[in-house]
């Protein structure tokens, strides 16, 4: 005979209520661990989206020496024009460089006053065919130290520094969340073992009168699942705050331009939410299964 849903819910509710403090501790631990776990994924999505945008528009700049001879300049131009690895290039002469400089430093006219077009280095803005950071770096290094070249600058170093920082933060999030998920699993197990011990006599009677193992087990397993799902809902709320306040705030156009593209799409948020819920259920099933198998069936 099947277990009545009303009976299962009533027993689950009573178990949760009897161990209220432990249940709350479990729910909070699950919530925080899943929040960190989901945060790790959202952060990675945001970093990937941002760096994809940076990489999509990546270029390197070959700054020429203002004193470079026309022959030296011509050799560099020829190398850029004939390279199969270069998709496009733009030459910025001294006057254009000076206009850019004036625009960038428009807030500091005293700086603009002491600079004249003749000290500004002309440059080639080069767009490679392959935006991969390693390929761009290799290509840029071919121009480093050539006659007439003052320096070669690419955005790679900045992107790599940001990616390295992001990776480090992600790893901390990930390790922290895994440790907390382990703690949450143990808490679920402890909670259910405590409930089993509290109801020792009931369980004994149930077995003697012929209740099936599943009839006895289900309320305990449901207890773990309910705790995990409530924890997942808390985590989801926390992730919503991260997504809508922190990540969206950073990618605000009025904020840092570098952070434009640092955002998470709705589908990425949904998949992270479902993953968090799935992990919550997996953790609760593992914790409660170990508890009922080890402490109920014997």
């Amino acid at each position: 005979m099947a277990i009545s849903p009303l009976y299962a819910l009533r027993e689950t509710g009573q178990n949760l209520w009897r161990n209220l403090l432990l249940s709350l501790a479990t729910i909070i631990t699950i919530g925080v661990s899943l929040w960190l776990f989901g945060g790790f994924f959202l952060f990675n999505y945001a970093v990937d989206n941002a760096t994809a945008r940076w990489e999509g528009g990546i270029e390197f700049v070959v700054w020429m020496d203002p004193e470079a001879s026309p022959e030296q300049d011509g050799a560099i131009l020829e190398a850029i024009s004939t390279s199969p690895d270069i998709r496009d290039h733009t030459y910025v002469d001294q006057d254009q460089a000076y206009e850019e400089f004036k625009e960038i430093f428009s807030d500091t006219p005293e700086l603009v006053e002491v600079v004249s077009p003749d000290v500004m280095p002309p440059s080639y803005r080069v767009v490679p065919v392959d935006p991969d950071a390693d390929v761009v770096e290799e290509l840029a290094s071919q121009f480093e130290g050539r006659p007439g070249v003052k320096t070669v600058v690419s955005a790679n170093d900045t992107i790599r520094a940001i990616q390295k920082q992001a990776d480090e933060i992600s790893i901390v999030f990930f390790i922290g969340s895994i440790i907390l998920l382990g703690a949450a699993t143990l808490l679920i197990l402890t909670n259910i073992v405590s409930a089993i011990r509290n109801r020792g006599r009931e369980i004994e009677i149930m077995k003697v009168v012929g209740a099936t193992n599943w009839f006895i087990r289900i309320p305990f397993m449901l207890e773990g699942i309910v705790q995990a799902v409530i924890g997942a809902v808390l985590a989801w709320g926390g992730l919503y705050v991260i997504d809508r306040k922190v990540i969206s705030g950073l990618s605000d156009p009025d904020s840092l331009e570098l952070m434009a593209g640092f955002e998470v799409s709705d589908s990425e948020f949904l998949s992270t939410s479902l993953l968090v819920l799935g992990i919550a259920i997996a953790v609760s099933v593992i914790g409660s299964s170990v508890a009922v198998t080890r402490y109920l069936d014997n």
Partner: protein, 225 residues
């Protein structure tokens, strides 16, 4: 109804609780298991309920070899066997009727069956006036009556009782035995482990005596000795 063939049960440390026991108990019989503490009476009862499994031998209950039952079938075996404890094992937070109803609810009986059977069994055991009382509000005899009602509410074929009068005074014990006798007269097989000489001698039913796990006497209309 119950048949043991050369059954031996050994606990850890090579302590033999039952040795080569062969017994045949017919439908509707009332059997006392007697013997000193540690003689194997409780093991005998626990084997019949598949709480224990013998090392050797075969046990048949209602024609079925219960040692061959899959673990998932054991609950269904137990639905045909009522169990009465010495210490009653009532649930303190449930009323008399809830304690009895619990035995039906946990095997999935529909509500209308529970509503019909619980008052009927409480009337049989003489507790109709106390259906809403908590166990703490009952005397020992009344608590044992609730325990009997819970064991019998599903109308099992067999009733196992492990020292059911062990915690009761002689006068109350007589009342409990009258109740068990009445249940037995409905055709239910009763197997009762006891130390109570007075009860065994008064009832004059079949007596199986155990001594250090060995059946030393199996006597129809016997006495305690």
């Amino acid at each position: 109804m119950i048949k043991l063939e050369n059954v031996t049960k050994v606990y850890k440390g090579d302590s033999v609780a039952l040795r080569d026991a062969t017994v045949d108990i017919g439908k509707g019989e009332f059997v006392f298991l007697v013997g000193a503490s540690g003689s194997g009476k409780s093991t005998f009862i626990r084997l019949l309920n598949r709480e224990e499994v013998p090392e050797h031998g075969t046990i048949y209950v209602a024609g079925k070899d219960i040692g061959a039952l899959g673990s998932w079938k054991v609950p269904y075996l137990r639905r045909n066997i009522g169990y009465i404890f010495q210490d009653f094992k009532l649930l303190d937070n449930k009323s008399v009727s809830e304690n009895v109803a619990f035995a039906l609810e946990v095997i999935g009986k529909p509500r209308h069956v529970v509503r019909k059977q619980v008052p009927a069994i409480l009337e049989l055991v003489g507790l109709s006036e106390k259906i809403n009382s908590l166990p703490s509000e009952l005397s020992g005899g009344e608590q044992q009556r609730v325990s009997i009602a819970r064991a019998f509410v599903n109308r099992p074929l067999i009733l196992l009782a492990d020292e059911p009068t062990g915690n009761l005074d002689p006068q109350t014990s007589v009342g409990i035995m009258r109740l068990l006798d009445r249940i037995n007269r409905t055709g239910t097989t009763v197997v009762m482990a006891t130390h109570d000489r007075g009860i065994v001698d008064t009832m004059r039913r079949r007596v199986i005596e155990l001594d250090r796990g060995v059946i030393v006497r199996d006597q129809a209309r016997g006495v305690y000795e």
